[in-house]
Structure formats: structure tokens, C-alpha cells
């Protein structure tokens, strides 16, 4: 995992002079602000179908952000994050369907439930390493589907649950798709900010230490199992929050929507997007959302052939993910600019 450290080093304070750092920081905030402004403006220009697509990009990005905490920052591989996504989605669906709670309430509860389940599963799971953790989490994701079908009274069984979508309040004057988009955007921004501050805190440093050298970290007094379990629970929480927004947006949950393919797609999306960076999850979300349809446009008979090839191709061109690629591009642009 040593190569991915390079990507994060862009985030961390560098050894360069303070002046240049301030300049870089300012640049970054300008870019982010511009991105945010564009994100706010977009739904008023795009057709509802495109708005929906970007809403889903945000949903996936939030889930990938959580997965990134675990894989990119703590160096633990999970192949079962679809399960936590499902916990959030079903949590929200059950609250809306059985208890008829107002939808804003479902978000914190769904996230909290995912956090607690992540904590409970994290305690034993975090004693496992690398490959073994990946396989145990994979098994969890597989087990969840028949489990959801079994408790039919609560989950609606294999038919799933259909739910009303959150209606836009009249004062906003927004259409339904725009309102859902802004809900997703708000959740995504909150998620990005909290992930960002989390990584800058003591916890973030402890996780990086664990990822880069577990033994050394332990010697320096980092409580391994505590931080690893915490990272697992947090990443579950983000996935749960993403699942909750998914339920708002799609208005329908069924067990087969959360099959093991979802977990594998999430991990693939994250690695393709870029591990350990903040932009990785967003790029990963874009990849997960748009590349399957592009594949279909290229080869209608077997879209999977193209999709598989594209995953491999991205890994060739950018072994550290698209974020690494854009990072490199930005770096070289800055360098050329400075020369002039």
C-alpha cells in the first residue's frame, strides 16, 4: 500500500515553504468553491434525467468516501460495504414504511444503526488482516441477501418495499428531482467535510501510521484494534448514510439490489477513483455511474466485455487511480505555469 501514500501526501502539509503552501491551499479552495457553485447551478440547467444521474453519483461518492476511510486510510480491505449500504437503505425504508417517520429523521438514525452494526462486526473482524478481512466481509455481504428475505414482515421479503419520495417544500419552488439532488448534495458536502476533518485529526494520523507500518505504529503507542474498529464503524456509517439517501432517491428497496456485485463494484469504483485521496470517491462515483452506460454504447451485445476492459485499462494507465492521474496532471500544469 506504500504507493498510495504519495497521493495523500498532497493533502498533508508538505515540506515546501509556507508561502507556496498558502498559495496551494488558496487554489484548492477556489477550485472547490467553483466546483460547488457548479454543482449548485447544474440542476437548473440539466434535464431531470441528468440531474438524477448526478444525484446517484453523489450517493455513490458518499459510500465510497466511507470505504476510502477504511481501505485508503486504514489499509483494510472490505468487500462487504454493499451490506452497510443496504443496512442504511433498509433502515430508512423500514422507518418510512413501518413507523412513518418524517424522512429527515431517517438519515441520522440510519447512519447511527450502520455505525453500531459496523462497530459490532468490526470488533471481531478487525482482528483479521488483509485478505482474510476481505473474504469475511464478502461472506457478510452474501449472507445479507437471504437474511433480508427471511424477515419478510419487516423487510417486505423478496418483493421489497416501495416508498414515497421526499416531496420538495413549496417555498423552494424546486421540482422533485432537483430537491432530491440538493438533499444528496447536502449529505455529500457534510460527509466530505467530516471525512476531511477526521483525517486531519489525531485519529487520521493514527490510521495513516497503521496503514504505513503497523508494527511501528504499535510501538509508538497507537492502539491498533481500537482505531481499526473505529475506522470500520465510521466507514459503515458513511455507507449507511449513502444507503439512506439511496432510498429517498429511488423510493424502492429489494434484497437483490444489494447483491454482492454492489460490494465489488464499490471497491472497484474506489480503487479506480483513487485510494486515500478526497477526490477519489467522487471520481469513483462518476466511474460507477457513467462507465456502464458508455460500455453499452460501445458494444450493445455484451456491455460487460467493455466494462471489464475499461477497469483493466484504467488500472494500467493509472495504477493509483484516476485521482492520482488528475493529481499528476494538475502537478505538471502548475509546474509549467510556474516556469513561465
Amino acid at each position: 500500500m506504500s504507493d498510495t501514500a504519495e497521493v495523500t501526501r498532497v493533502d498533508a502539509p508538505t515540506r515546501a515553504g509556507a508561502l507556496r503552501r498558502v498559495a496551494a491551499e488558496r487554489w484548492r479552495w477556489i477550485v472547490l468553491a467553483a466546483l460547488f457553485a457548479a454543482a449548485c447551478y447544474a440542476p437548473f440547467q440539466l434535464v431531470p434525467f441528468r440531474v438524477f444521474q448526478f444525484t446517484m453519483v453523489l450517493v455513490y461518492a458518499v459510500a465510497l468516501l466511507g470505504l476510502n476511510l477504511l481501505v485508503g486510510h486504514a489499509g483494510q480491505i472490505s468487500l462487504g460495504h454493499g451490506a452497510f449500504f443496504a443496512v442504511g437503505a433498509y433502515g430508512a425504508a423500514i422507518m418510512l414504511d413501518r413507523f412513518e417517520l418524517p424522512y429527515p429523521v431517517t438519515l441520522p438514525i440510519a447512519a447511527a444503526v450502520a455505525f453500531v452494526i459496523g462497530l459490532a462486526l468490526g470488533l471481531p473482524a478487525m482482528r483479521l488482516r488483509g485478505l482474510y478481512l476481505a473474504l469475511v466481509t464478502l461472506a457478510m455481504a452474501i449472507f445479507l441477501v437471504p437474511l433480508l428475505k427471511r424477515f419478510e414482515e419487516v423487510t417486505g421479503g423478496s418483493m421489497g418495499l416501495t416508498l414515497p419520495k421526499p416531496a420538495p417544500p413549496a417555498w423552494t419552488g424546486l421540482a422533485e428531482d432537483q430537491w432530491l439532488y440538493f438533499l444528496a448534495l447536502a449529505v455529500a458536502v457534510a460527509a466530505f467535510l467530516s471525512a476531511y476533518s477526521l483525517m486531519r485529526s489525531r485519529v487520521g494520523r493514527a490510521l495513516h501510521a497503521i496503514r504505513d507500518n503497523e508494527a511501528a505504529a504499535e510501538t509508538m503507542g497507537v492502539r491498533l484494534s481500537f482505531y481499526k474498529t473505529l475506522a470500520f464503524a465510521w466507514s459503515a456509517m458513511f455507507a449507511g448514510a449513502a444507503g439512506c439517501v439511496y432510498t429517498w432517491v429511488i423510493g424502492f428497496v429489494s434484497p437483490d439490489s444489494f447483491a454482492v456485485t454492489l460490494s465489488i463494484t464499490l471497491l472497484a469504483g474506489l480503487v479506480v477513483g483513487g485510494l486515500g485521496s478526497l477526490s477519489g470517491p467522487l471520481l469513483g462515483g462518476l466511474f460507477v455511474m457513467f462507465v456502464p452506460s458508455i460500455s453499452q454504447d460501445v458494444n450493445e451485445a455484451a456491455p460487460g466485455v467493455i466494462f471489464g476492459l475499461l477497469i483493466i485499462a484504467v488500472m494500467y494507465v493509472a495504477p493509483t487511480g484516476l485521482a492520482g492521474l488528475t493529481g499528476r496532471a494538475a502537478h505538471s500544469i502548475r509546474k509549467t505555469l510556474r516556469k513561465e
Binding site: Q178, I250, G251
Partner: protein
Amino acid sequence: MRVTAIGCTAVLLLAMTACGGREEAGGTGTTATGECQGQQTTGITDKSLKLGGIYPLSGPASAYGAIPKGIKAYFDFVNAEQNGIGGRKVEFLVRDDGYQPPKAVEEARRLVEQEKVFALFQTLGTPSTTATWDYANQQKVPQVFVATGASTWGTDTAHPWTIGWQPNYVSEARVYAQYLKQEKPEAKVAVLFQNDDFGKDLLGGFKRALEGTQVKIVAEQSYEVTDPSVDPQMSNLAESKADVFLNVTTPKFGSQALAADAKNTSWNPVHIVNNVAASVTVLKPVGFENVQGVVSSTYYKDPNDPTWQSDPEMMRYQAKMKQYAPDADPAVPYHAFGWAVASSFHKAMEAAKCPTREGLRDSVRALGNVQVDMLLPGVTMSTGPDDGFPIESMQLMTFKGERWELFGDVIDTRKEFGPLTG
């Protein structure tokens, strides 16, 4: 950071005030004049008709991706040789959802908002259809002849724009129940079923149809589509010593269950296999000598069945498939299914009073014994104000030699059991 947050909020507010910058989605549609005034004519002109379908072309359910090939071949043939449907050339767009509901929603929106299709002609699978039907009905876009046999499409009253086509799983279950009541009134039945909407619906319908009879279900086993094999389930069922075995499976698992039954020489129940797994292509790998006397039911003609060798519609299907879909093997029953459903659409569209979305919606809900040549003789499409199921008749068949042999009359489940209600 605080400054940026404030700035962003300001931008957000600014952006909100600028609302209305895009055209409303519904506003871009066109409407008819004259007799059908005010009705929607999006996606249809005097010369063209644009349809969109959503199928799993990738992922674990891609086997069903063969259906649109049959549909396309039919429309290509009609466009080239019959000047389309009523002079309108049909353009049929196919999108892939990988059997994922969120993908299906995305593709439905793409077809309706970007491609501006006249109607969604088939979404495949109960999950994908359930995820999209609210949208289709809000937008008032017909979602016709969906490729799933869940009974919801016909019993629901809140979604007038959505309708099924194939016999629903409950009706099929009724056919088997009827058969057992007559042939084996005291049967003890063992059931293997797929643990999803399809398996549950069929089993539930079977149980309801058996109420008040002496036929009893003595063992049930389910499997997941992700299971490698149903052999363990089969040996559990064998222990029940039931004298009838109901095989509610999809093709691969159907073959496995048939093979397991054949291998077990100490358990020889009457084997009923559901229509989904009754194709000759499922039975052949098991070995014809092992599946003699198996019972099933059907409603459309199997291209592998020699019975239809000289049937005019089957000959036309074989010839036109070769001509318009040279890469597709006409022996694949999904292609024939696609052909049958496309010709059903042809009939329904021709019967529409107005060439509008409303016209199609009303036409598919007022079919009066419409004959479709790819369906079995005696099986017709009928719907009405309180009947949302186009096909509800099936015929029993038993496997003899190398082909299915139909027996008995076409069973109209409406007549035998009364209309299906939620």
C-alpha cells in the same frame, strides 16, 4: 473554511433564485389535435414510432438479454416488409440495467426524457419494474407488456399505465393445482422454489389454489440464485417421500433439479416443472431418457418443439430470424418470446383508437380475445376494466420422446378460478 461555507451558501441561494432556468420535463411533449385532442403524441408521428425497453444485458441475469433480439427482429421485419405498424416505422431502443433497480430508473428516465420514446415497451424483472412504474405513471408514459409474471401488475389500480403480458405466476400455479385436483386428488407435494418474487408468487398462488382440497404440500425447499447447486435441497425433498414434485426454478436450476430427480432411483414422483424452465433447451442437457413423463404448461410455441415444424407462423419466425437477426439462434426460446410479445404489441397498437399514449394505454386494457399467431392455438389476449392480465390461459403438456406433447384443453384460469384480485 467558514468563509467558503458562507460563500457557498450565498451561491446556493443565488442559484435557487435562478430556478426555472430549465424547461419543465413535461412541457416539451407534443399533443394531438382533432378527434384525439390534448392527448400525448411524444415519440410518435405519422411515419415513426419510438419505443424503449430495459433488459439485463450484463450481470447475472443476462440470459434474458436475448428477448430484445427477438423483438428487434420482429420490428425490423415489419418495418421492411409491412411498412411498419400502420405506416409507422418502429424504432426500438434497448438499454441495459444489469438487473439493478437504480439502473432501471436511470434508463427509464433516459428513454423518456432524453430519447423521448412513445412508450416503455417492456421492463424486465419484478424489481426493475417496481422501481420504475411510479415514474412511468407520474409521467403518463405507457409501460406495456412488462416481462415479469408478478400478479401485482394486474391487480394494482393505482398504476393504469403499466400492464403485464405473460400469464402471471399465480395463474400458472392454478393450472397445476387444477391438474392435481383432477389427476391426483390426494397428492402429497414437495416443492423446490427460487427464493425471490417469482418463486414466492408461484408457490403462494399454488397454496391458495389448493385451499379446500385434499392435495397437501409436505415439503418445501428454497434456493438462492447465487447457490452453485440445488442438490442438497433435492435430497431433503426426497426424504419427504412425496408423490408429486413441483419444480419452480429458472433454467440452470431446473436442469439440476431434473437431473437430481432422475438420479435418485428410490424416489419417483410425478415431476411438474414450471414454464420458465420447461424449454427443450433445459431438458436436453439432462438427457431425454431421464425426463420422460415430466409435466408442464405453456402458452407460446417453443421453436425447439417439432410439433410446430410446419406451423406457418413458426416457419415465418425461423425464416425472418435468419434474415433480420443472423447472429441470433432462432432455437433460443427467449427469441420466440420476444417475437410473440412484439407481435402482441403490433396488434394492440393497431387496435388503438388514437395514435397517442392515452390511446395505447386504453387499447391494452380493452383487448377482446386478440389472436397472436406465436401463442398456442386457443390462447388469446383479453383484458377489461377489471381485468389487467392479457394472457391467463395455458395448456398442460407432458414430455414424450424428444418433444412436449400438449394434452387436455386450454385451461382458462379466469373461468376456473374467477378473476384474480389482490
